[in-house]
Subunit: 211 residues, 3 copies
Amino acid sequence: MTTEMLLTFAEITAILVFAISGVIEAVRKKMDVVGIFAMAFITAFGGGTVRDLLLDRRPLFWVQNHEYVWLVLLLTLIAPPLSGVIRHRWVDWIIKITDAFGLGLFSISGALLAQAANMPLIVVLIIGVITGVFGGVMRDVICDEIPVVFRNHQPYALCSFFGCLVYWFLHTAGVVSWVGLVAGAGITSGSCLLALIWDWRVPEWPGKSNG
Amino acid sequence: MTTEMLLTFAEITAILVFAISGVIEAVRKKMDVVGIFAMAFITAFGGGTVRDLLLDRRPLFWVQNHEYVWLVLLLTLIAPPLSGVIRHRWVDWIIKITDAFGLGLFSISGALLAQAANMPLIVVLIIGVITGVFGGVMRDVICDEIPVVFRNHQPYALCSFFGCLVYWFLHTAGVVSWVGLVAGAGITSGSCLLALIWDWRVPEWPGKSNG
Amino acid sequence: MTTEMLLTFAEITAILVFAISGVIEAVRKKMDVVGIFAMAFITAFGGGTVRDLLLDRRPLFWVQNHEYVWLVLLLTLIAPPLSGVIRHRWVDWIIKITDAFGLGLFSISGALLAQAANMPLIVVLIIGVITGVFGGVMRDVICDEIPVVFRNHQPYALCSFFGCLVYWFLHTAGVVSWVGLVAGAGITSGSCLLALIWDWRVPEWPGKSNG
């Protein structure tokens, strides 16, 4: 029950933060209100939907929790008056922190469901990462950009990968379920925040200058 | 039976018009014949395929009605001699009118199937809209454009949304099935045409000039 | 058993070659290591994953053979020291030849599975082609390019189409399974190589100059 409530809270947080990043990108691309809702919806639910399609889970998580969709619709409607405030530096940091938080919770929810479906290790890790980052990938592809997670040299997806790996080890070692979930999500979110603060970079590709 | 025939006619009309819009976009992007067929196929069947994947319906509607695929293949083959004619102003209007017609019928077919699968209201509406517009979204994404439905400030997706809403209300109120289908499709198509004639615009985003 | 081993070898070859083409494109787009693995993964497994989703096959082929994912991960890690070598002309030709080989084997694996699921002819052909080319389509879309297979005027997808057609005819005519598989894959790969050597072009669109 605690795990389920934690997951619910995880999903709502991740969904709202991801939806906001969709709204920001849609506004930057001068989309209309239809596009703004669509980008909020796709960024928030894209990763989980791909996870559910790959694992063949039905109903989809946003069908089962259709109040999440109303929430994103509401967010889209109340976002305009808030948008003036969004350019302040500390708002930027709040978004980054909750985004790291959302990444952790969403990734581990993906890893948890993949493991519950008896997937092998590498598939658990990949579905965890996809659940965490694919909403953003779909947002960028639709906004006609190369996905930022693939090219910004920040270890965003790697944080998700290692958090899922820790979760998997703890689960396989027989540690109580919620400990693994909290540790996995905490390592993902924490390393993601440390990477932002200390400006960690993923390695350059050696031949990059010849590209 | 009448409903089924209506749906069949709806699908064929929508498919051909959507396929033509895919062909036009592919030609504009200087694709070869492979690309032209692929864009016709994806624009025509993309929305319904995403609907079927989300609702977990098999066989897919273009597998069940595989003569639709032959039809699109045939269209691609006969389109070149017709393409000289396509630039006339009245052809443009015929395409817009049938496109509005197709949007209505396709959206309501999506809403109908979502409702038959016992989806909640917001999911019925979203699957209706996705069925109506996602073929065009996929067309634009593959053609390396931001989807026109998200940025042209025309209420295209909103017409689909309100038509599905009317259909849902009539169905929930116990009105005979075909009345709801005709009303929903009619409101979607009609409002879409009125929006074109009177140049209705969806609201601007307040902070747009800062984007 | 022979058929299964042939298919396994086909998949591994196709996967590695397709993964390399993803790596090359990712490096060209100056992605980081996350993006490079993601592009290798998506290019290698994209076509087969779409095939499995359309046919509703679970587990997905890269879940069932999860050692393939490790192989692509390994490839991504050893690729940097190899990348200096990749620009030699004969390496380019080795990649083209194995790519033609991979296209044939992947396409026919798609056609085989579609036929085993009792799909009608046109669906067998389309799923064969999708399995062969969609990894590359997804690679190009994510890399913010119009898919090269849709616009380079080379008959790449048509080779896949005709190979699947030959396979289908032989299977329907009651020819032993492995003969159809080898003939279909051979025709796809062979015609693809001949098209490269003799520079075959698919027909221009008549109205192209007006596009």
